[in-house]
């Protein structure tokens, strides 16, 4: 091993020097090609000879065969390595049927590759210095083999990187002030009092703000909360192992008799098998039974989509800098031998690549810069009808299905769909019965009398629900939770949301409390209700999505993003705020965790100011939640689709902020995350994207050639590029959708979303009552500002020629600081108080919105437009070049559609500008991110009063959504330097919440650089 390492090291340095030597040698294959060949042969040798490596070459289904090619753009290097039936060969020419090729733009990249860890290769991929062409799962397998060879070197490198990063931060971000972390914690100590009887729907809470409770009132929740921040998530193989075993035995594409499977039946059977055989676990001290995985905090694995992307990290995930998770040796073995090989050619991407001949739209997606089509991971992002489930029970729903089978006029496809729904509901019932059994077992072992009672109760509950209707709050919450675990076995845990739980659960709360007579009993019950909801919140944190390291740079710190919606108006249009609204808000305030993602609806005419003030107070205490949503604006936005008023009134947030007509709508509200700036860059470069260095777009005119005589001609060029990109993304969305129809139809969703049973169609086939998809379009402010700069400085005032502006941009403004200053100071940007700027933003949003609206999706639905950004404004920003707006290369875009902080010194101008956007173009919502600093001199009441004024004025002027960070830049800097003091510091990115210390550096800096406004 030692000699190999030193041999490898000296070869590495040889490679480095040789690379420098061959810089100009061009097409002739020279020394570099030879060295690459030697290195690959070394790898082949190792794997051909060493038993400790050879054992990885075989999986449960036999030899793992694959091939990888390596090529530089000028063809000075071309090699391939082939693993076939236990032998490894290196070839001088890449075979035609190679699985994947790594295209390197130049020899320098090869040098970088030689000296970086597989994790660092990510950066090369993101920056398009290395372009992957082919099967991404196979590349990860190759990475895994590389990491096996590098062994401990890889671990050591990562640990070193960790230490260096921490030391560097301490130096750069050290703040000379103490007490910042304490100030955040102190906020929880003071709680405002509310007033009784303000909200008509609140009947039982004397003080709806529930100030009498702090976290210390709930020791059980405190234990869960502390564990939450200290528990490392762990890879759980239960789901993939059980399901892959079932497929192996029963077939995936075809059944044991060679007949093609109806995908829905196949899924239903496989999931049923999983539900029957998974471990029924009741966590210690919990009031809710069941878990998403078999681990305390489990990382979920969906190998039919992107799970194979962590193949290369199986032995190193625990050591990575960002969001590490542990993976036991046994789990790694199972994934490598039993699971991943089965799926490496059988996943959404591969299906699309083969069936549609590696379409252009997929190639664009795999360059990371232009758009992300979420279906590569999953669909989810919708809300099941919990009301129907709680009222009927699964047996009731099965009854409806049987009725439909009897009396409906369904074709074979319909009958199979209905059968699938039945099967999976049966599986859920089995799981619940197993939980009941587990509860009984634990009762026997339990010595503490109170806990024994709780377990006895759990046994009763799980014997009853979800098969039968729920009658009490604890039955309802357990039913919801058990269904929820099943949903996350069927679907990736990415954005599936729980809906208006305050509305759905109020009847159970009322039924329970009405039976109690004394004030003391009722007070105790209210406390119990808060605790139960708290338990639900903590259960929601028992799973995190699988994030390959590259995802840490694209989706910093995101959890499963499960939204809960409270408040607003009833379907009939009346004030919906009720007791459970405030119970949920109390749990939100107490726990201050990133999941559930709480969205609070507010209707300016129907909801009380007291309710809005409470929402503001919770934002101050938690520093980042809940999100504020305006009912009027959202209702306006959704009305364009012709939905009935009572369904629109019942909208609920999904994932981050997007609207779903809860329980009746398959809405995939985040199907596409589109980089609007990419189109701007392409318009500036006649269809060429500078980072992708690819003439991917249509030819719309060259600035250098003076093709643009008017502003309108340039606007048209941008719009053309934008439409092109949208159409490509939509095409891929449809193709991936088709893959989902084959690989991951969703009978459980279908049973629980209205319409699918009556229509006899899985929701993936368009069976839901309402059927649409939603997008997020990132960079609205940056694109708008760029257009404004061009219009004002180039065409209206003629302060600079278009050519000169383009020249400056191409040099990242380095050689023209005066122009940069002019661009930043003399142009009336979006958010400056200028009406024309708002008009431009509206115009840009309309181009996007109208383009999506023309399209009908693979399942017959429309596409909605949103302008929030998750953390893509940072990811895409880091991959984008300089803009006419003065934004420099690699800088984050503004989050959501928040105006550039430099647009105005007066924050109110920002608010008015965003409120001035036409809601019709924003039918998938937006994110307006505001950072507020409470004044040390003000009382809590005064702070809340100021915040309330901003939010209410904003809503009254037509604003749709607003979300806060109530923390100073100083505190954030201190958190960067001393992350150990800030484990629980939560921030709002652009739609979702995350813990600041788990974010990548770029996102942290973006948050620090957001303009802050003092209260």
């Amino acid at each position: 091993m030692k000699s190999f390492k030193s041999f490898g090291n000296s070869l590495n340095s040889l490679l480095v020097t040789e690379t420098e030597a061959v810089q100009g040698r061009g097409r002739r294959k020279g020394g570099l090609n030879l060295i690459t060949s030697v290195l690959l042969r070394l790898m082949a040798f190792q794997f051909n000879v060493r038993p400790s490596l050879r054992r990885y070459m075989k999986g449960k289904d036999g030899w793992i065969n694959f091939s990888v090619g390596l090529k530089t753009e000028n063809e000075s290097v071309e090699q391939a390595i082939v693993f076939h039936d236990g032998r490894v060969r290196v070839l001088k020419k890449i075979p035609v049927d190679v699985d994947v090729i790594m295209h390197l733009t130049n020899n320098d990249v090869l040098k970088e590759m030689a000296t970086s860890t597989p994790n660092e290769m990510l950066n090369l991929i993101l920056k398009n210095k290395m372009v992957l062409d082919g099967n991404l799962a196979v590349l990860q397998l190759f990475n895994f083999f590389l990491s096996l060879m590098l062994g401990k070197t890889h671990q050591k490198k990562l640990e070193k990187k960790n230490r260096e990063d921490l030391a560097a931060r301490k130096k750069e971000f050290q703040v000379d002030k103490s007490g910042l972390a304490e100030e955040l914690l102190e906020r929880k100590q003071y709680r405002m009092r509310g007033v009784k009887g303000v909200d008509k729907g609140v009947s039982f809470l004397d003080d709806p703000y529930l100030p009498q409770f702090g976290i210390e009132s709930f020791p059980r929740l405190k234990i869960f909360l502390d564990a939450h921040f200290d528990t490392l998530p762990e890879i759980c193989v239960e789901r993939p192992q059980l399901m892959t075993d079932w497929y192996r035995a029963n077939g995936f594409e075809t059944d044991a008799d060679g007949q093609p499977w109806n995908p829905e039946l196949r899924q239903a059977y496989a999931l049923n098998y999983l539900l029957e055989n998974r471990q029924p676990i009741i966590r210690e001290n919990d009031l809710l039974a069941g878990t998403t995985t078999a681990k305390e905090v489990g990382v979920t694995i969906f190998p039919d989509a992107t799970a194979t992307q962590i193949w290369g990290e199986l032995h190193s995930m625990e050591n990575r800098v960002l969001n590490p998770c542990s993976c036991s040796k046994e789990s790694a073995r199972i994934l490598h031998e039993e699971v991943f090989p089965y799926w490496m050619h059988r996943n959404i991407r591969e299906y699309t690549r083969h069936h549609h001949d590696y379409p252009l739209c997929q190639k664009i997606d795999e360059r990371f810069v232009a758009y992300f089509v979420w279906k590569s991971v999953g669909i989810s992002h919708t809300i099941p009808n919990f009301k129907r489930l709680l009222e009927k029970g699964t047996l009731g729903i099965i009854g409806d299905i049987e009725y439909e089978l009897e009396n409906g006029n369904h074709d074979q496809l319909g009958r199979d769909s209905l059968e699938s729904m039945k099967i999976i509901l049966g599986g859920v019932n089995t799981y619940a019965a197993n939980l009941a059994g587990e509860a009984a077992r634990l009762v026997e072992l339990e010595t503490d009398p109170q806990r024994k009672q709780e377990l006895i109760r759990l046994h009763e509950i799980c014997s009853k629900i979800p098969a039968h209707p729920a009658e009490t709050l604890d039955e309802a919450l357990n039913a919801i939770w058990i269904i929820w675990t099943a949903i996350h076995l069927e679907n990736a845990n990415t954005g599936t949301s729980l809906g208006r739980l305050d509305q759905w659960l109020q009847p159970y709360f009322v039924a329970d409390i009405s039976k109690l007579e004394t004030p003391a009993e009722r007070e105790a019950y209210i406390k119990n209700a808060v605790e139960l909801v708290g338990c639900l919140y903590m259960r929601l944190t028992d799973h995190v999505p699988l994030i390959p390291d590259i995802g840490n740079y694209l989706f910093g710190g995101a959890s499963s993003t499960q939204a809960i919606t409270v408040g607003g108006i009833t379907p009939e249009g009346e004030d919906a705020v009720n007791d459970m609204t405030y119970v949920f808000l109390k749990a939100t305030e107490l726990l201050a965790i990133r999941d559930a993602n709480v969205n609070a609806r507010f209707h300016v005419e129907k909801n009380s100011d007291a309710y809005l003030k409470r929402l503001c107070e919770i934002n101050v205490i938690t520093s980042a939640t809940p999100i504020m949503q305006s009912d009027q604006a959202m209702i306006k936005a959704l009305s364009q689709h012709g939905y009935p008023a009572e369904d629109i009134n019942d909208w609920a947030a999904t994932g981050c902020v997007e609207p779903t007509l809860q329980g009746q709508h398959y809405s995939h509200t985040a199907c596409i995350l589109l980089n609007m700036v990419a189109s701007m860059e392409m318009a500036l470069n006649n269809g060429n994207h500078p980072v992708m260095h690819w003439d991917v777009g249509p030819k719309t005119g060259s600035i250098e050639n003076g093709d643009f005589k008017t502003f309108e001609s340039f606007f048209d060029a941008w719009a053309t590029q934008q439409r092109f990109m949208i159409e490509q993304a939509l095409e891929l969305n449809d193709l991936f959708g088709e893959a989902h129809q084959q690989y991951r139809p969703t009978p459980l969703f279908s049973a629980l979303i209205d319409g699918a049973i009556e229509n006899g169609r899985d929701v993936i086939q368009g069976g839901a009552k309402y059927n649409s998809s939603g997008t997020s379009n990132i960079g609205l402010a940056d694109v708008t500002d760029s257009l404004l700069v061009i219009r004002q400085l180039v065409f209206e005032e003629q302060k600079v020629s278009f050519q000169k502006l383009k020249e400056a941009i191409d040099e990242n403004f380095a050689n023209n600081p005066a122009l940069l200053a002019m661009v930043r100071n003399k142009v009336r940007l979006f958010g400056s108080g200028d009406d024309d700027a708002v008009a431009m933003a509206n115009r840009v949003a309309k181009v996007v919105h109208d383009c999506y609206l023309k399209h009908t999706s693979y399942r017959g639905g429309r596409i909605a437009s949103g302008f929030w950004s998750m953390s893509q404004h940072v990811a895409y920003g880091s991959l984008s070049g300089p803009l006419p707006s003065g934004r420099l290369a690699g800088k984050a875009f503004t989050p959501g559609l928040t105006p550039n902080p430099a647009a105005s010194k007066n924050f109110l101008d920002n608010i008015t500008a965003v409120a001035g956007l036409n809601p019709e173009n924003l039918d998938n919502n937006l994110a307006f991110n505001v950072k507020l600093i409470p004044s040390a001199e003000d009382s809590r009441e005064q702070t809340v009063e100021h915040m309330f004024s901003y939010v209410k004025s904003y809503f009254e002027q037509g604003g749709m959504q607003m979300q806060f960070n109530v923390v100073t830049s100083e505190t954030l800097r201190d958190a960067m330097a001393n992350p150990e003091n800030y484990k629980s510091l939560m921030v709002r990115i652009s739609g979702y919440n995350a813990y600041f210390v788990t974010l990548n550096r770029e996102i942290q800096i973006e948050l620090i650089e957001r303009a802050e406004y003092g209260l």
Partner: protein
Amino acid sequence: MSDSTLILEIKGNSLDDGPGIRSVVFFKGCPLSCLWCHNPESKRSGVEISFQGDECVACDTCLETCPLDALSRDHTFFIDRERCNLCFECVAECPSGALSRVGTEMSVDEVVDKVLKDKPFYDTSGGGVTFSGGEPVLPLEFLAQVLARLKNEGVHTLIETCGYFNLEKFREQIYPHVDSIFYDIKIIAEENHKRFCGRGNRLILRNFAALYRQSQNGGVEVLPRIPLIPGMTDTAANIDAIIRLFKELGVTKTHLLPYHPLWQEKNRQIGIAENEADNVELEKWIARDHVAQCKKRFQAAGIET
């Protein structure tokens, strides 16, 4: 005449200049000339030119533009104000705004239209518009017109004044359109007031007494505010004298405004060199415990701060 006047700035989203969310209109020009003024660019009535070194991108455009050769990196303040004739050509060309104009002519309509834009916020928060500066009462007829228009729109109005004005004219034209008056009380001893503020204080104190008595008889509310300046206003003698005055009039509430030295950088931007009092105390923020001590004295006398 009274159709336009020089405005320094209209600042939106202020939470510190009266109740609720407010816009603050800063007028240029003041009858007094207090040493510690934290808006020194507001003292003089005429238009001025400012240079902020931090903002400069060194593009040299201004050097090329100036017709009088009044700009130079060799000059301490960059602008040789003896040569400069305030043509502002350099300001027009300066891309970064490092060179800027101090004081812009605005008409009554322009001021009103600008502040009305934020009316939805005033309405929700119980805010409004505050007039400050400089001395807002100095352009009396202009102020009167703006106030009248705003009252007509239902906007809450507040003025921050030093009190040096003709009471009769004030009562006639300003008083009917003002909802609240913040009144500066600085130094009681006349000699010291002359020395540090440029004029005597008898008119100021007389006006204060009259307006305060009127406020107690159903008139516009008056809140006295005291800038705490080390060695000048925060002396035991001055504080006690102010307390005596307050007790005489029955004042029960005041605001204390702790000193800060940020005006010194502003002075440099408009080309003024010296810290005229040569007081080293004025280089830093006033000590917190010192402010606390002053507060205690007032509280002991039954006056809320």
